[in-house]
Symmetry: C2
Amino acid sequence: MRDPKHPGNVRALPITQPAAAEPIAHGGNLDAARERFPGAPEPWIDLSTGINPAPFPIPALPTEIWSRLPTRAEEEALLAAAAIRYRVRNSEMIAAAPGAQALIQLLPRLFPKSSVEILGPTYEEHEACWMRQGHRVSVVEDLDRSDRADVVVVVNPNNPTGRIIPVSDLRTVARTLAKKNGLLVIDEAFIDVLPETASIVAELPPATIVLRSFGKAYGLAGLRLGFAIAEVSLATRIRAELGPWAVSVPALSIGKAALCDTRWLAGAVIRLESDRQRLDAMLQAAGFTVLGGTPLFRLARHCEATKIVENLGRHGIHVRSFSREAQWLRFGLPGDEQAWDRLAAALSK
Amino acid sequence: MRDPKHPGNVRALPITQPAAAEPIAHGGNLDAARERFPGAPEPWIDLSTGINPAPFPIPALPTEIWSRLPTRAEEEALLAAAAIRYRVRNSEMIAAAPGAQALIQLLPRLFPKSSVEILGPTYEEHEACWMRQGHRVSVVEDLDRSDRADVVVVVNPNNPTGRIIPVSDLRTVARTLAKKNGLLVIDEAFIDVLPETASIVAELPPATIVLRSFGKAYGLAGLRLGFAIAEVSLATRIRAELGPWAVSVPALSIGKAALCDTRWLAGAVIRLESDRQRLDAMLQAAGFTVLGGTPLFRLARHCEATKIVENLGRHGIHVRSFSREAQWLRFGLPGDEQAWDRLAAALSK
């Protein structure tokens, strides 16, 4: 355990030093926007994430959900609801975590140092997390079938572009990877509001882990709930690595109620699709080219994007910009008529 | 990445197979007790954990805490409150996690394969988690100063025995470990209700990580909140490994309110000490020898412990027994007069 470079210092202990030390920009960090535009009107409108602005209604919560430990029966009930909702044939193929991000952090720790290809540009935490654990990571623009990678990561639909990789293409990749004991990771964080056929979960190929986010489609990101879906042996391993009581009792309880409520989700999908069209029209009227996205967020290009971020900021509206693509902006959906009006007014100035 | 024993199978991928596959018994799993005693009266009284039965009152929660992502400012506010509460000089020395158990799972992944000594018998998850990550683990009965171990784990006060290791002894161990780039892990999960001088946190020695549980003293185990306290570089590393949004917004919000409320905690400590004395008297009257514990739970011995578990179970009262120590039972505190009465009645039969 001794490291001659750091004698007598606990900092010598870590073996897996972060490879990517640069902090990642995320949506949802309204504090920074507030600091940057101190004169902006309150309340801020946060359009910087892809979270459903009309959340699943929180049921009445008995006080005991805060006080006692989660029980195994509660976790099993949540997994059973998730299995039905996601069309997974066996709930033992599912692991519940305090947010899909916790699984993105975990997966790179479970596998030997590998060559990892990430289909990008995409959600940057995948790259950062595989790099942090010492894997060799490259971001590729197309699904590579040249057999180079041990691990392939696909965000489907992609964030922020919305690109959808057909399930049949993913199956081909999974087959190739399975032959060489590789692994396909499919992050389906934004797939809930697409047709069910977009998801690979119902007929999961071998050597494949699917991640599902609960908070985005159900509008409950503060709850922290996400799932990994994989063959039973791997899902069992993930559950063991997460340990007992990984998910809070409120998340187990609200998550189960929401996942069972297919009627609510159907209504949300209709509303989101309609709002998506309204947002596209508003962006186009303001001179944007809509590049893509999902019904939960839109990616749009404008040659004066930087100025527009400034202008929206002064109006108390926070959107997501991208350091590598200065003309891109990502817009979440406004949550009420007042927010729509404020966005329209700010964009017209 | 190829493993000849598992050709074409993703199960070949994991490098860190669990070493300890045996499931660990925990308190709090009322489902199993209900199944074992189907005729028992409801509601069950769960005395199998060491969680304060009079929880910190949940403040009114705005609905937006469920819907949006946790902000960095909220996390920093929680860490600042934790720094004051735990007397840590710099909040950057603290990492917040969704439960102390999540940190027990994480720590063994951060260090090279080591020789680990755990002061026991104690909370079994420490042993299981270090073993799962491939470390060489031994459980020792006394703090060993013979320089054998790279990592020493002490639960202080110990669960279930309540043994308290003086801070001065822990400093000696930390010094020895620091000299060889080792690590001392001190799990202070049950320390909140003891005098502040019992904790090593206020003057943390190098090469030391302290774990604090929020849910036990504050009676909010369902919330999932715990802390690691270490020197800044190590705490920063732990925060990076936990990733963004590790703690739910309800936990950030309720946790901060509770940690700031020193008056509530002072009242809880007085009540718990009084209830602890009442429980000791009740157990002694029923023929138990009280071996120790903390004000949150009592460890007691009875030569007919197995029969007593049966009898309590038939009365709808769940306590913690130990497979390796058949005469030991651990009792949490009853939460109200009705629970005290039912316990007294059941013990007298």
